[in-house]
Every structure is written in structure tokens, then in C-alpha cells.
């Protein structure tokens, strides 16, 4: 009975420590910003800052949920940024030329994203091509397609329906703070993924796939179907993020929309504790990772750090997060890290 208590306690310690670390870093970011520039937190600016963070966060969170699934299953999806761009262009074209309602645009974007993801999944499973190669290729292919279907032109705010922008501005109000609908959609997605990963067989099978592909296959898990589904889900998430992009920024540009997005999303997922070798990762972790990156992004801009410093800070934080994560890993697993020390 004593062993049971110890085992239970250690497992709880494992699970919460990494996420606690992320929460601590997020709070640290705010504290440091407050120290550097104390007046930003005065009265009326606080809701605005929180709103900025809240608006940046849903885009990353939604896609990092899908990316988390992909990475846990020991793949990677480098094409999410281009998928976002293509879905945004498609939906934008429908908005502009067919004047469809917002909800139909959302469905179209998600469906198109799912198809793109299915194409990725097909190449990976049926043709046995490593995911990094496939998504490296489709990164360019989808971005090029985004240009082609829009004839290279961007879709401006005039062509997008007004209700779309309202998703980013209106929401549920707490006191002086309005939490936009975009955030609630993202929260819903996070809860959905939490349930899937923790309580459904599909979620457990994804973890199994990432931990040991051969064993899962021999166990009877349909590895091909799960891999394709994981990429389809990521594509659908990118489609949703595309609509959020259009709502947040008010325009769709084939060259900018989603450019470089994949690196932000992958960083958020890895910082959130998902192991790049697959098999482990949590929804809470990915969510906190996205929140962390979003906070840093917004805080840097708010305390007046010139845009020139942002890239370097991003890169530095990614490296720090990797090192810290490795430090935690090493303290938990004793013997494995000893072998790793050799090479």
C-alpha cells in the first residue's frame, strides 16, 4: 500500500511539473514586462493587452492541437501554414464572388483543409514517404495553389462579410473585458481535443502509434487509417484557423496569410512538452505552449521592443524551452539518460 501511494504521487508530480513550468514562464513574462515598463498595466490598457493576447492565441492554439496529434504519432506537418493560406483564399473567394454566409464559409474552409490533409496523409501512408518530405513538398504546392486560385490578388476587407470581423470583436463580456468569440471557439476546440486524447480509443491509439509503430501494427491497430485521420484533422484545424485569420486581420493575402506559421505552431507544441520523438504530449501542454508564445509575441510588441528583436527572441526562447525540457526529462528517467550521454 505504501508503494501505491508513492507511485501515485510520483506520477502526479511528473504530469504537473512541465505544465507548471510553462505557467510559471508565462507569469514571468508578464512580471518582467511590468518591471520594464510599469505604466502599461495601468487601468484601461490592461483589457486591451489581454485582448491582444487573446486574439493572437486562438490561431496558434487551434492548429497546434492538430500538430500535437501529428507529432505524438511520430510525424510532422510542415504544410499547415500553406494550408491556412489556401483555405483562407478559397473561403475568401467564395465570400467575394458568391456572397455566402459566414457559417458556410467556415464549413468550406474546414472541408478544404480536411481534403488537403487527406492528400498529405495519402502520400504518407499509401506511398510510404516520410511525413517531413511530403509536407515539405506540399508546403510549396499549397502555397502556389493559393496564388493560382486567387490569380495572385489579395482579398480585401471589403469583400469579406461584416459578420466575420465581428467574430474577432464581439464576444462575451466580463466587466470591462470582452472575450471575443474566436477565443471561445478555440476553447471549445481545446476541450474537444482533450476529450479525444484522453477518453477515446482513437486518442490512445495515437499515443500507441507514436510510442511503437511496429507494436501497434501487430496489436491490430489500423495504423494507416489513424495516420490519415490525424493529418485530415490537422488540415481541418488549419481550415478553421484560416477563417479565424480572416476574421482577425480582415483580409486574405496569398503570400502572407499563414506564412511561417508552421514554425510557430511546431515551436508552441514542442515547448508545451510534446516530445518530437512521439508518444507523449498533452493537450494542456500544447495549449500552454501556444499561450506562452502568444504572450511573448504580444508583450514584446507592447513593451516597445522593436519588431527587429522579435525573431531573435523567438529563436532564443525555443532553444531555452528545449534545454529546460531536456533537463526535466533527465531528472525523471535515470538510466535512459545515462545511455544517451554516450551519444
Amino acid at each position: 500500500m505504501l508503494e501505491n501511494n508513492l507511485v501515485g504521487r510520483r506520477r502526479k508530480f511528473n504530469m504537473n511539473f512541465k505544465e507548471l513550468g510553462s505557467i510559471v514562464i508565462i507569469l514571468l513574462v508578464f512580471v518582467i514586462s511590468a518591471i520594464i515598463k510599469p505604466d502599461i498595466f495601468s487601468g484601461d490598457r490592461l483589457p486591451e493587452i489581454i485582448k491582444n493576447v487573446l486574439l493572437w492565441m486562438p490561431l496558434i492554439v487551434v492548429v497546434s492541437m492538430g500538430q500535437m496529434m501529428v507529432i505524438i504519432s511520430k510525424n510532422i506537418d510542415l504544410s499547415v501554414g500553406s494550408m491556412v493560406g489556401f483555405c483562407a483564399m478559397t473561403a475568401g473567394l467564395f465570400f467575394r464572388d458568391a456572397h455566402i454566409p459566414v457559417w458556410l464559409g467556415i464549413i468550406i474552409a474546414v472541408a478544404v483543409g480536411a481534403c488537403l490533409g487527406a492528400f498529405n496523409g495519402f502520400l504518407i501512408t499509401i506511398l510510404n514517404i516520410p511525413a517531413i518530405l511530403v509536407t515539405l513538398g506540399t508546403l510549396s504546392v499549397y502555397r502556389g495553389l493559393a496564388y493560382i486560385i486567387g490569380s495572385g490578388k489579395m482579398i480585401s476587407g471589403y469583400d469579406l462579410p461584416k459578420q466575420l470581423g465581428m467574430l474577432a470583436q464581439n464576444g462575451i463580456t466580463f466587466g470591462g473585458l470582452t472575450v471575443p468569440w474566436l477565443v471561445w471557439i478555440a476553447v471549445g476546440v481545446v476541450i474537444l481535443f482533450f476529450v479525444i486524447m484522453k477518453y477515446t480509443r482513437f486518442g490512445r491509439e495515437i499515443y500507441a502509434l507514436g510510442s511503437n509503430y511496429q507494436a501497434s501494427f501487430l496489436r491490430g491497430i489500423n495504423v494507416k487509417k489513424i495516420t490519415i485521420l490525424v493529418f485530415v484533422i490537422t488540415g481541418a484545424c488549419s481550415g478553421l484557423a484560416a477563417i479565424m485569420y480572416a476574421a482577425r486581420y480582415g483580409y486574405v493575402n496569398p503570400s502572407n496569410t499563414g506564412a511561417g506559421f508552421e514554425f510557430v505552431v511546431i515551436s508552441a507544441t514542442i515547448i508545451g512538452g510534446t516530445s518530437i520523438n512521439g508518444g507523449s504530449g498533452t493537450v494542456l501542454g500544447a495549449f500552454l505552449g501556444s499561450l506562452l508564445l502568444g504572450s511573448i509575441n504580444t508583450m514584446l510588441a507592447t513593451i516597445g521592443v522593436a519588431g527587429t528583436f522579435q525573431q531573435a527572441t523567438y529563436g532564443f526562447i525555443i532553444l531555452m524551452a528545449l534545454l529546460i525540457d531536456k533537463l526535466f526529462q533527465r531528472s525523471q528517467a535515470g538510466s535512459i539518460s545515462r545511455v544517451q550521454k554516450f551519444g
Binding site: N128, V141, R143, G144, G152, F309
Partner: protein, 335 residues
Amino acid sequence: MSKNTVKLKNRSKLGEITRQREFITFVLLIVVLAVSLLSSKNFADISYILNATSRYMEYAIIALIMTLIIIAGQIDLSVASCMTCVATFTALMFRAGMPMGLAVVFGLASGFVLGLINGSLVAFGNLPPLIVTIGTMALFRGISQIFIGDKSISKFPKWFNGIEKLPVLKFGNTLVPITLILFIILAIGFFLLLHRTALGRNIFAIGTNKTAAIFSGVNTKKVILLLFAFSSFFAGIAGVMMMSRLLVARYDMAMGGELEIITMVLLGGTDINGGKGGILGTFLAVFIVIILKTGLMVASIKAQDQMFIMGALLLLSIIIPNIARIINEKRLSRI
């Protein structure tokens, strides 16, 4: 012997050649060359092609060292940012008063140091190279952005500008760009290193099975550290070359370059999982990319469509060998 014996297929010399990974790259090169010759008469002019190569030689040189890195099972996405970083360092030191030659030397040294950062994080920190180099990609470009801001630095000394136009070799009546000659020399050097030295065998070993390599006595930490250090070193050389060709140094040089370089390497038949590949494939793939991109430019295809075609080409170059392999396996399994 009864009919129970398996009749081995006649492994002719021709069959051996077609089974090589580089054969498909070679076929692709012929196809691309044929299509370009048909579409535009300019391609029949060797001087035109020679002039066209100088734009791509920077990426080509990095592709050579990247081949080694991918064969060792690693990856380095920070090369393009390293190019930019070294270029900006060199330009800033020159602007601060240092003579250009010395600035270049210091710039290249700093490139080596940047590579050591990558290498230590991967080899000693045991961090995954993909994420580390994604991080350093942002870090290096960010550093150059911090130092140079949005400005462009130009007005370099006369001897530095347009270094590829130095008259070193002439072919007929056209100038062979010195960068092309450098590329060929480096390609030969890397070929000898990879296929004729123990270090090259070690690189293959690390890529095939790192743990086995460790227990076979290969100093994997040292090899990986050196690979990343030299990757950034050559990226620095390429950065200085690009600065000389474009006559300017900016923080947004070589954006997206890492993907182009990896495309060159993968088109050459190198396996992304490591352990297989060679310099010959990369060498041919470089020319495929040059001819294809020049041909697309001549046919006035827009830059965005070019990106689409390059991506599709990358996919095809992997799909076709895979399909061939699957068909082959199905055929063999029927015995």
C-alpha cells in the same frame, strides 16, 4: 537441381546501373534538359547556361555539406539564416572601418562559431536537430535583424563586387563563373571525403544506426559537432558570395533558402532518414534545379507558380522511386 531452386534474376550491368538511386536523378536531368531545349532556343547556347548558374551556386555549395548532414541522419534548417547573419556581420565590420578582406575572415569565423552552437546543442545537449535548427534559424536571422535593422549596406570595395565575374577560365568565348569552378572543386572534395575516407564511412554509419556507431567506436559527438560547424561555415562562405553577387547586405537575404537547399539534396536521391545518398546525386540535382528554374524564368512563369512546380517536383522525385520500389517488392514477393 529441381524446380525448387529460385532462379536469380540476371543481374546485368545495366540492371545494376538502373537500380542506383542517382539513376532517377540522371533521367530527370535529361528530361528537364530536353524539355528546356525544346521550349527555348537559348538553352542550346552554353554561355547562357553558364551565366545562369551563378545565381544558384551559393545554395549549391551549401547543398553539398547538407548532403553530408542528411546522410548522418541530422538536418540543418538554419543555413539560410546563417548566410544572412555572416553577410551582415561582414558588412557591418567593413562599415565600421575594417578592411574588407579581414572582415570576410572574421565573418567566416563567426559562421563557424554559429555552427558550433548548433552542433553543441545537438551533440552534447542531445536535442532534436530539427527543432534546434528551427530555433537557431529564427535566432540567427533575428540577430542579423537586430544589428542591421531594415537598412541595406552596400558600397563595398571594387575588388569585392561581382566576384563571380573574375576572369579565371574561359570556355569558348564565355566566362566560366568562378563560383561554378569553386562548386565543382568542392563537389570533388566532398565526394572524396564522403566516399573515400574513414570520416565519410563514419558519417554513413551514424546515419544508418547511431547507437551501433557509438558502440563501434565512432566519436559521434565530434563528428556531429564538426558537421554542424562546417555547415554554418560554408553557409557563411555562401553568404559572402551572395553579398558579392547582389552588391548589398540585408537582413532578409536568402529567405526560404533552406527549403531550396534541402530540395536539391533530396532530389539527388539522398534518403532523409540518413544512411543512404551521395554527392553525385546532389551534383546532378543542382543542375536540374538550375535548368528548371532558368527555364521557368525564360518561359515567364510567375514566381508563385515556380514555387508550386518546385514543390511538385520534390514530391515526384520521392514518389517515383517509392512506387518503383513497391512494384519491385510485389514482384519479388511472388516468387
